[in-house]
Amino acid sequence: MREPLFHVVKRELIDWWKAWLIRLAAVLLALVLSAIVTVIMTGLNPFQVFATIFDGALGTARRTWAFLQGTAILLCISLAVTPAFKMKFWNIGAEGQVLAGAMATATCMIFLGSKVPTLILFIIMVVSAVLAGAVWGLIPAIFKAKWGTNETLFTLMMNYVIMQIISYFVYQWSVPKGSGQIGIINSESHAGWMPALFGQNYLLNILIVVLITAAVYVYLRYSKQGYEISVVGESENTARYIGINVKKVIVRTMVISGALCGLAGFLLVSGTDHTVTRDTAGGQGFTAIMVSWLAKFDPLMMVIAAALIIFLQKGAGEISTQFSLNKSFADILTGIIIFFIIGSEFFINYRLIFRSRHKESKEVAA
């Protein structure tokens, strides 16, 4: 009988250091392949290109702050999607939930900007952003719990709904009228802009995300609700058996997921963009899903994963301007590196057993 060249076997538990060795090897291999691709396609010195990537992400103080801010936002959204994913609720509507929060924040800034005291304005902004995100998460959750609708399609559709809503209002409120964009909100008064801390515009924003990270970590690991999420995600039958109200957990968790996304929307508008467009979330609602999975739903690992993605994005942007390369080339390099990192998980979970020539000849003889 013919036997394939190798077969795949699931690993038993792997030592943590071996897992990290595999990941490190994957990054190195990715860099080697990136270097080869760079030479073949552009003729540039690959080391120079790598240096530019690094420079683009962390080269100056300003760039470093922008890197940290970008990491914070992506991390915040990744943390937001995690409870739902841990429950095996495939929420791909983070993009929309972030936009809902962003829209709510921008609305508050436009209409209440200089009419209420700063502290009250911020309270209203945060509350409305969180509520908007929560409602955007709640709707698909209720449909899932009550009628078993497919949450993946539903949350995806919700993204388009909020985009259209934003498009409509951006046109209605555009400055100057009819220009189709809102522009920087309160550019004179800075009302509703997140205040600078120690002279750093992004610092407060980053600290808030640090707090959220700690809170999500504790919530998932040490709270009763976090425990219920794990049980429902692992086995609904077990959850029913011990008397967990599965529907209630689904709805509650999605509200939390949506609320955190809404908060990320607030951070984006109040802390970074000071405006809203239908692209405010910029696809980060989807990138966050990858970050969350890459970190295996561990909030601390998510810090590393989010930082890596943002580092590559910022660095890739720099090489396209620096070497006047097409933007697609930067995407190729980013793609290679992420592909290798995700691919390495396969070798952490499985191992390959190659057919040994010796055994084969014995079998033929038999």
């Binding site: 009988m1 038993e12 538990l13 040490y222 709270s223 009763k224 609700q225 425990y227 219920e228 794990s230 049980v231 692992e234 086995s235 039958n237 077990t238 029913r240 058996y241 011990i242 008397g243 109200n245």
Partner: protein, 509 residues
Amino acid sequence: MAVPAIELRNITKVFLGKVVANKNVNLTVNYGEILSILGENGSGKTTLMNMIAGIYYPDEGQIFINGEEALIVSPKDAFKYRIGMIHQHFKLVDVFTATENIILGLKDEERYDTKKAAVQVKAIADQYGFELDPDKKIYEMSVSEKQTVEIIKVLYRGADILILDEPTAVLTPQETEKLFAVLRRMREDGKAIIIITHKLHEVLELSDRVSVLRKGEYIGTVETKDATEASLTEMMVGKKVELNIERPDPKDPEERLIVAHLSVKNREGLTVLKDVSFTAMSGEILGIAGIAGSGQRELLETIAGLQPIEYGGVQYITPESGKIEYLRDKTPMEIRELGVRLSFVPEDRLGMGLVGNMDITDNMMLRSYRRGRTMFLERKAPQSLAERIIEQLQVTPSGTSTPVRRLSGGNVQKVLVGREIAAAPTVLMAAYPVRGLDINSSYMIYDLLNAQKKNGVAVIFVGEDLDVLTALCDRIMVIGQGSITGIVDGRTASKEEIGLLMTKGGHVS
């Protein structure tokens, strides 16, 4: 005598180097004959047939088809020898029509001509008296229609040797009658038919000869006309094996759980329990015997509040106070809030009783995590409970942070039973608690159940091994197709008596 269609010689199959599924099995099937393969659950019937159908490959022995030795390593090879197997679980594409399913994967090189095929399908159906609409989609079909598609599929491919794995398990009595009529017509047409079953009356009604397997071993073949239900039962269950299981006498038994006229339908709307009534007494082990899938699982899940009740009810009598609680239409949570201390070791250990990816401590917490007034978990008590169970029940490996799915079957069960007993129950229900366990672990579980019994717990034990049931239980309730077919005294009942009761009940006419 003519050359047999199939002849098996000394077939042996061992799984994972230790579980013997078949040992030295010999049997023959002739054309124009229906052979029944009879045996209890886990006796190796399906494994044996899968080797003929090319799904498994025997470790030892030979298969002869039409008198010549055959090498069957894949279902494709089986086709080559004109062998077709109808599996217990249908393998059909839901959104395709009957015809499309039948011709699926047949000739890759030609274009499918569904119209022509539909005519042929209809012709086969008419020849043997099937009722089938070739253009009906699978998802619109009843279970019996789907089975018809499976049978025609193998006939369309020219099978002369048909193997049916428990075909009547999913059919109503009327559908069973129709199927039997069709099978008889096939026999007249000269086909060789093997039917796997454990329903004695069907064996006697349909087949020409019966081959019996017990625990993987071939017991023998008899002519159906010479067999009776009693003689077949004895072949099937074997002589009584003496087990050294302790059985203390019940002390001051009192009524603890009363189930009255319970009827339950499953999600598909089929009646799975019909008018079930019994009483579980404190300080007693009540055994439940029956062929797998006769409603045991549903019965326990219904009592635990996991299945809606169609008719009837469950009463719990509180010890000492004697207060009666009605458990119908209550969730597991509500039942616990009533103060009913009901523990349940479900059949599906990792899919229901435990969470495989969580460690032992976190699994201990499943029952108790709500304790404490804060929103945070309290891991100290579950941790010490985990340590206690690991020590007392000798769970290996002994770390409390081992994910449960890494434990062996026996250790998983110790963790689950240990947790359920730690809740100090007054009623303990255990479904197949020793399935897949080695002797030592099994005895440990029996001891645990006996200890609970001595503490005055009403123990309900669903088992499959009649030797164990008759050695451990005070009373044995037999369930057949969702009805109670008898309750016998565990100390005096014979295995034959229970075996006969198991095959009765429900729809038997």
